[in-house]
Amino acid sequence: MQIVSGGVTDLGRVRSNNEDSFRIIEPLNLFILSDGMGGEAHGEVASSLAVETVERVCATPKGDSDVTLAGASSENWSPQTRLLQNAVFQANFNIYQSSQEHPEQRGMGATLTAGWINGNKLSLAHVGDSRAYLLRTGNLQQLTNDHSLVAEQVRRGIITPQQAEESEMQSVLLRALGAHSEVDVDVDEFNLFPRDVLLLCSDGLTRMVTEPEIAGTLQAETDPEKAAQKLVDLANERGGLDNITVIVARLQDESKGWFSWLRRDSGKRD
């Protein structure tokens, strides 16, 4: 399946520093996004280290010096998913190690969300509250579970999603890269359908723009880079309280021809 993609990162309107990082490795259809934290621009160090590490491990998997997840999960993940999971695990270790070696970096951390598409299979790995979404036939679905305190409270039935959105504790994370030498990396796999749109974003987008607005923008603008820019602009229009990073990847339609006409959905809505 052919994929077109684009990404934009923006300082926002309030911050003095952009501590988000992202990378699109087109030949691999690998998309990586990281939101850094920690004073004195150390967030930038953490997020770029995170993104670089994931890219390096995924692009050159046979590095012996890499740390690997021992035993790992009991699920039957594909080799690609496992590699991606290992890459994020390695990124965590690198950030942690850096902060150990440079005391001024102590406390720095980052979120990371990465999507890797192979054919029609998406491998997704994440730590933190940067999100991956899928737009399919007009529905925007969040693919990742935020590793935030408020999201955990919603999952446990303690508060409602509405209360979570209004909570003052929204930016409190339960999991991030760099806090410890090891971290639990959440992974998942999805089948992708033609015309699916994958969106990766930092919370600078989702704090400012609602999901229906995101869905509408992605549907209206088919050029991924333009769509990403429109989303960033929207977030800034609303205040741009944080750094904003958006990656959009669109799966093209299957091959044209008279046969696809036969298969076309009746009453199609797109």
């Binding site: 303690i158 999603p161 009746s266 199609k268």
Partner: protein, 242 residues
């Protein structure tokens, strides 16, 4: 501050106010609220403040502690609640409940600002989640039970009779990649979808608009145990099995 009134058959037996110290209830006379009844354990239950919340805790009693009608191990109390212990009950008279739990009681040393991201370490995280859980709805907590959301097919042409939803996304459609595969001519590749969110399972449109309990959905709707879903001539029951 709150007041606890021990009652027996609508007669007030004893009244205590509760502040910083917990109030104990049981048959043994050294309890703050002694209950002279064989159905009551020596040390039956305990009431105390956790932050701004008033909590009742059963102390492994033989016959249990009930808040209104529900047997509990540990529960948050509200003004007007009745705690039943044997044939006695304790009326809770609480002064105004505060809304936001974090403003009083245990707080991290420096409260996180809104725009500052904070990562909780393991102990702080455990404490926070425990405190949050105590403030949640009163209920009998059964951690051992696993919930299995299931679609039971009532009629229509699909490939299985039942589908247990294990994935984040479930596609209903003709596509070979769909979980619930529709059979028949002219069915859409993606007719509808069910996605798992933090607070439950939501049914959303695809190429078609499904109905829930007879009404077409206006947008993604949360599915409740027992809901009837209809899409492309297929009728299914959404149930949550334990």
């Amino acid at each position: 501050m709150a007041k606890l009134s021990l009652m027996f058959e609508n007669k007030l037996m004893k009244e205590v106010s509760i502040g910083d110290r917990p109030v104990t209830i049981g048959r043994s006379p050294d309890n703050d609220l002694p209950v002279d009844n064989l159905a009551v354990s020596n040390y039956h239950a305990r009431i105390y403040f956790e932050g701004s919340r008033l909590v009742v805790e059963d102390l492994d009693s033989l016959n249990g502690t009930f808040v209104n009608d529900l047997r509990v191990e540990r529960a948050t109390l509200h003004d007007g609640d009745s705690i039943w212990i044997g044939k006695h009950h304790i009326r809770v008279d609480a002064t105004a409940d505060t809304a936001i739990p974090w403003e009083t009681g245990r707080k991290p040393a420096s409260a996180p600002k809104i725009n500052e991201t904070m990562v909780l370490d393991t102990k702080a995280r455990r404490d926070m989640l425990q405190q949050a859980a105590a403030m949640g709805e009163r209920s009998q907590f059964s951690p051992g039970r696993v919930k299995m959301p299931t679609l039971i097919v009532l009629n229509g042409r699909v490939d299985h009779k039942e589908y247990v939803l294990t994935n984040k996304l479930t596609v209903i459609g003709k596509s070979p990649m769909a979980t619930v595969r529709l059979r028949g001519w002219f069915k859409p590749q993606v007719a509808a979808q069910i996605s798992q969110r933090d607070d439950g399972y939501y049914l959303g449109t695809g190429a078609k608009i499904p109905s829930v309990n007879g009404s077409p959905i206006p947008g993604p709707v949360r599915l409740n145990d027992g809901d009837l879903i209809e899409i492309c001539g297929v009728r299914m029951n959404f149930v949550i099995r334990e």
